[in-house]
């Protein structure tokens, strides 16, 4: 049970009769006792007349998924199965990061009726957001005291990665379309396939004229080529401890997710098959054999609950994982953090195994703070800071050099720039027919 502010106010009002009657009849103590007794009686009457908060059936509808930053409505249905009218304040105990617009709603439910309480959820963290309980505070007719009970009513909503990088998608798709149907000589070779025949227009390379087709038609025909389709793209996301670090107030893993989503969206439109593996020392998530819109929905679903673990990434298992996905030559994208050589030693040791069969791209976030720190040399502390920043960049450069020597492609960029940079590299590789 609990009491309301109304009871506190009413108790305080007791000062008036105590002073007044106490002056008149010199019986302040008796008045005090009488007032307190009256309050106790009122509270007991109120509690007895309050509807039981336990006689309440709870049901809820919550959308299964929401993208981070968006708002959805969650509805709680309360049915009064008791005999009295329920006047209550209801708390739906969502986790704080579910971003509920309110967790306390006043409600009046006559006997046998049902009410819906709709609140807006604007989650501000990725992952699974839950509510386990509904607490009902049922006030009596006087509103002085309330009976309180907590009811089990679990609900959950999966908060998907925001995929802010989708704003880069239209421009990249447009560039991808430009690749199709380009005159053959530009890109003809390994990694391109025959697309169609069309009439010769001025400016086409004469070497792309298909003479046999020209003989069959009355016009001069040229062959066009398009990038080879049905290539495989394997995205490996490191979920180890280095991915927990925040750069520009975004954990590295979120940048990795954004990059992976943009690349997957692009690659599936280009007709390639995309597989996703999230791994640290155990398989954290995997998407295999999906394509089109289903691919992205499955990817965000898999990514949603993944938080970086505070353990070291086990790179030695990665070649095996890639082999499980495909033995075909494919584009392997490793989304990780390139740090000092000591930390990245394992990564460097397995890259040759991958480059033997696959085209490997390593994508890593660089810290804009470090890059900016290099040029700030105002005072003593800033010069030392610049030296430390140079040293950090040098470490990254050394790892990058080694990875490039082993045949991997390395992309480093600030968090906001990494997804489009990776997409551009994919398009460049596609255009060059290297896939």
């Amino acid at each position: 049970m609990t009491v309301s502010g109304r009871l506190v106010a009413l108790l305080a009002v007791g000062v008036v009769p105590i002073v007044w009657l106490g002056e008149l009849y010199d019986s302040a103590y008796a008045v005090l006792l009488g007032w307190l007794g009256l309050m106790v009686v009122l509270v007991v009457v109120d509690l007895v007349l309050a509807a039981s908060p336990r006689r309440l059936a709870v049901d809820r509808t919550v959308p299964a998924r929401v993208r981070l930053g968006e708002t959805v409505a969650s509805t709680l249905y309360l049915t009064n199965t008791g005999r009295r009218t329920l006047r209550a304040v209801v708390r739906d105990a969502w986790q704080p990061s579910a971003g509920a617009s309110t967790t306390r709603s006043p409600v009046v439910i006559p006997r046998g009726e049902r009410r819906a309480i709709t609140i807006a959820l604007t989650p501000f963290r990725r992952g699974e957001r839950r509510t386990e309980r509904v607490t009902v505070r049922s006030f009596g007719p006087l509103g002085l005291a309330a009976r309180q009970a907590t009811l089990r009513a679990p609900g959950r909503i999966r908060v998907l990665p925001p995929f802010n990088a989708r704003k880069h998608l239209p421009s990249r798709l447009a560039r991808l379309r430009e690749l199709d149907g380009r005159a053959s000589v530009m890109i003809r070779g390994q990694g391109t396939e025959f697309d169609s025949l069309r009439e010769y227009v001025r400016g086409d390379d004469v070497r792309s004229i298909d003479w046999r087709a020209t003989a069959r038609h009355s016009d001069v025909m040229v062959r066009t080529w398009r990038p080879e389709r049905d290539r495989r793209v394997v995205i490996v996301i490191d979920t180890g401890r280095t991915q927990a670090a925040r750069i520009d107030d975004e954990p590295r893993i979120d940048t990795s997710f954004e990059s992976a989503l943009l690349l997957a969206a692009l690659a599936t439109r280009a007709g390639d098959r995309v597989d996703l593996v999230a791994y640290d020392r155990r398989l954290r998530g995997r998407v295999h054999g999906a394509s089109g819109p289903e691919l992205l929905s499955r990817m965000v679903d898999v990514m949603a609950p993944i938080e970086p673990d505070l353990i070291e990434m086990d790179w030695t298992a990665v070649p095996g994982l890639v082999r499980q996905v495909t033995t075909q030559r494919s584009l392997v994208v490793l989304l990780t953090a390139i740090d000092a050589p000591g930390i990245s030693r394992e990564l460097m040791s397995i890259v040759p195994q991958l480059t033997r069969n696959h085209l490997v791209v390593v994508a890593s976030v660089t810290d804009p703070d470090v890059v900016a720190g290099v040029l700030e040399r105002g005072d003593r502390d800033e010069v030392y800071r610049a030296a430390a920043a140079e040293r950090a960049l040098l470490d990254v450069a050394r790892v990058t050099t080694v990875l490039k020597r082993y045949g991997a492609d390395v992309i480093t960029a600030a968090p906001a720039d990494l997804p489009p940079a990776l997409a551009d590299r994919y398009i460049a590789l596609k255009a060059a027919g290297r896939l």
């Binding site: 005090l32 609140i119 907590t150 505070l310 290099v374 040029l375 010069v383 030296a387 480093t412």
Partner: protein
């Protein structure tokens, strides 16, 4: 392309987000086919234990606390009723300094011993005895003022002052003055013609002695301690002292042998004989020990008496209000919701830490090395030199592009050794200037704003 559409569309969902307090809308009675939820009539499972369960869980402790409180109250009551009255000369006290023994013996001898704590009680007791009473007066704290002392002087037919101070003596027996403590001695002889003293023979050493300053004919001095200091002095009553109810022809006995009245000392030597003889001359003995209630004009009114009667109840009510407000605000609205929060690690922390290490160790050579390597690698890229070009090659290229002397460029890039932090700062600035010069020369435009490539 969207990430994922929400699952099955939810029936009656308002498109606008709910306002504060949520949006409450009636859905209709149970089973009216309202969408979204099937007709539910079973109550939800409550996690809060019922009152009965809670009561059962706490029963043991309630019993323990109640038992402890009852035990404490009972023991306090028992000890309070048997609390010893430790006042000296109190006839209710059986302790060493009390006087119960003397009073009891006198009662056995037929003397009506009446204890009086206030002037009113003393007057009433004397009146009850028709004035034929001995008044024993002990006022070690000096509660009474001169007027009240005068009133005491008029009481009874005989007045016994036990260890009086000079204030009492000046009222009751102006001829007697205190003579300080008695000399060290096991006993003092009576040496006088007072019947009680003669019967006693000798008594233990008196606690206070008195001397006559104006020896009258009827005064008797007994138990001489030294020179003219006596343990007991009897003088005739002062006829001028007030208008008492008793006769004014009584005597005033200044009784310095206080130990003779206590339970502890009454049995020594002739103490018992002396005290019984002095106090037992009349059928009634009023044992008057003034208390605080006798203080002239009554006690000063306390703040408690000055404040109106409703103040304390109002304070109590406000206390109850505070407790109720605490319950109102402090009652938790259901259990706390827990959530695992992510760690917040800024990636640049390692860089900052390394910078602080450099600064702490004043590692200016090492710091400058890092700066120079960075500059040289950027210059190599800017000047399109091979990646493994030596510093000399870079210096030459820079000099040829910018027109600076080769020696100076070489000195900046590798030659000069910093001896202090001032050197470090100067060289760092020179490196930046060099980079800007090369950038200007190669780009023919405004100075570099682009960040160095990682």
């Amino acid at each position: 392309m969207t990430a994922a559409p929400p699952a099955a569309p939810v029936p009656p969902m308002p498109s606008a987000p709910a306002g504060p307090g949520g949006l409450v809308e009636p859905v209709g009675p149970v089973g009216s086919g309202s969408p979204g939820a099937a007709a539910v009539t079973a109550s939800a499972v409550a996690e809060t234990p019922r009152l009965r369960t809670t009561a059962r869980r706490w029963l043991f402790w309630v019993v323990v606390v109640v038992a402890a409180v009852v035990f404490a109250v009972i023991s306090v009551l028992l000890t309070a009723s048997g609390a010893p009255d430790a006042e000296r000369f109190s006839i209710g006290s059986a302790g060493p300094s009390g006087s119960e023994a003397v009073a009891e013996v006198l009662r056995q001898q037929g003397v009506d011993v009446v204890a009086a704590g206030t002037m009113a009680e003393a007057v009433a007791a004397v009146d009850a005895a028709d004035g034929d009473a001995t008044v024993l007066f002990i006022d070690p704290y000096g509660y009474l003022d001169d007027d009240q002392l005068g009133q005491v002087g008029g009481l009874g037919s005989e007045l016994v002052l036990v260890e009086p101070g000079s204030a009492e003596l000046s009222v009751f027996a102006p001829a007697v003055a205190p003579a300080g403590a008695a000399e060290e001695a096991d006993a003092v002889d009576a040496g006088c013609r007072l019947p009680a003293a003669e019967r006693a023979g000798d008594i233990s050493r008196p606690t206070a002695t008195y001397r006559m300053i104006d020896a009258g004919a009827d005064s008797v001095t007994c138990f001489r301690s030294y020179d003219d200091a006596f343990g007991v002095v009897q003088v005739p009553g002062d006829a001028d002292a007030g208008s008492g109810s008793g006769s004014d022809s009584g005597t005033v006995t200044v009784f310095g042998a206080g130990d003779a009245l206590t339970n502890d000392g009454v049995l020594l030597r002739g103490n018992a004989a002396l005290s019984l003889g002095v106090l037992g001359t009349h059928p009634t003995l009023v044992w008057y020990m003034p208390t605080y209630a006798d203080v002239a004009g009554g006690p000063e009114p306390t703040i408690g008496e000055l404040t109106p009667g409703w103040v304390t109840p109002v304070i109590l009510l406000l206390l109850v209000v505070v407790v109720a407000a605490g319950v109102w605000r402090g009652r938790r609205f259901g259990p706390v919701v827990v959530e695992n929060l992510p760690v917040t690690v800024r990636a640049s922390e390692t860089m900052e830490g390394r910078a602080r290490l450099y600064a702490k160790q004043s590692a200016h050579v090492r710091a400058l090395d890092a700066l120079r390597i960075g500059t040289i690698s950027r210059l190599t890229v800017a000047l399109a030199l091979p990646r493994h070009a030596s510093v000399v090659d870079v210096s030459r290229a820079v000099a040829s592009v910018t027109g600076l002397p080769v020696d100076q460029v070489h000195d900046t890039l590798v030659g000069a050794l910093p001896r202090s932090e001032a050197d470090l700062l100067a060289l760092s600035d020179r490196l930046l200037v060099l980079e800007q010069a090369v950038h200007r020369a190669t780009h023919d435009g405004p100075p570099a704003t682009s960040s160095p490539s990682g």
